[in-house]
Amino acid sequence: MTREVIGMAFILVGIMFDFFGVLGLVRLPDVYNRLQAATKCVTFGSAGILLGVFIIQGFNNFGFKALLGIVFIFLTSPVAAHAIARAAHRSGIPLTKETVVDQYQEDNELKD
């Protein structure tokens, strides 16, 4: 009983952070800022949901799958964000107007 309450609390917190991540995708101005919201909130949110599943299920193969899911989210989500951000910058998608500095652009221009 208590285990289910704790698990449900984790799932609730996870859904809340996933919601913040989606809100960030809608509200923030350009692709780079949106990636920030997408990677950070979604790691904590999805990891929270999976941890809740693990707490409810306990140490059987279903729970282990949830734990392994957390590990893979932590490993893959930053790599995906890096790939998308790099590809966006290389194909010339501009940063938002509020941007103060772009040292990546400066260095690439020096090389050309």
Partner: protein, 168 residues
């Protein structure tokens, strides 16, 4: 035993244990299937896990890894609340930009872990690595300074020392 074979043995045992954890073992068929899958994984990717001898005692490296993990989880929690605060703030208090930091790490695995950690910590996202592998370009949602040395300290400094102990 050569380094490559040691790496292969480690990958084989590790992937077999993960298979046992994922399937509820009821009969021999699942164990045999696990052995076949672990062998396939070892043939394809076995030699990439351990590529060089490490200095430093194994226990001290595990201790550093645990210290790093605690620090990383704490920073990740701060990052989540930071982004949630920005997103629900009515005026979106952001000052984005791409800055450059230097790194002293030399091993590929150490640099990978460092850049992944930077992506998951507050306000920063790794965009690219310079071809010489000593500079990292980082998108920062709230740029505080454009000085390379200062940014190296604030963004990479908190992880770099621990990662040096773990990986090199």
């Amino acid at each position: 035993m050569t380094l490559q074979n040691r790496s292969r043995l480690f990958v084989f045992i590790f992937s077999f244990l993960v298979w046992l954890a994922l399937t509820s073992v009821r009969d021999m068929e699942e164990v045999v299937a696990g052995l076949i899958v672990a062998a396939l994984v070892t043939i394809v990717a076995g030699k990439f896990l351990i590529t060089s001898e490490k200095s430093g005692h194994i226990l001290r490296r595990i201790f550093s890894a645990i210290k790093y993990l605690i620090k990383f989880l704490w920073e990740m929690m701060k990052a989540n609340f930071h982004v949630a605060f920005i997103v629900i703030h009515p005026y979106l208090p952001i000052k984005p930009g791409i800055v450059k930091i230097k790194t002293k790490l030399t091993k590929d695995s150490a640099i990978t872990v460092l850049t992944n950690s930077i992506t998951l910590t507050p306000g920063t996202l790794t965009v690219d690595l310079s071809p010489e592998k000593n500079e990292i370009y980082i998108h920062w949602i709230d740029v505080l300074s454009t000085d390379v040395e200062k940014n190296t300290k604030t963004i990479g400094g908190k992880f770099e020392k621990l990662l040096t102990e773990v990986f090199e």
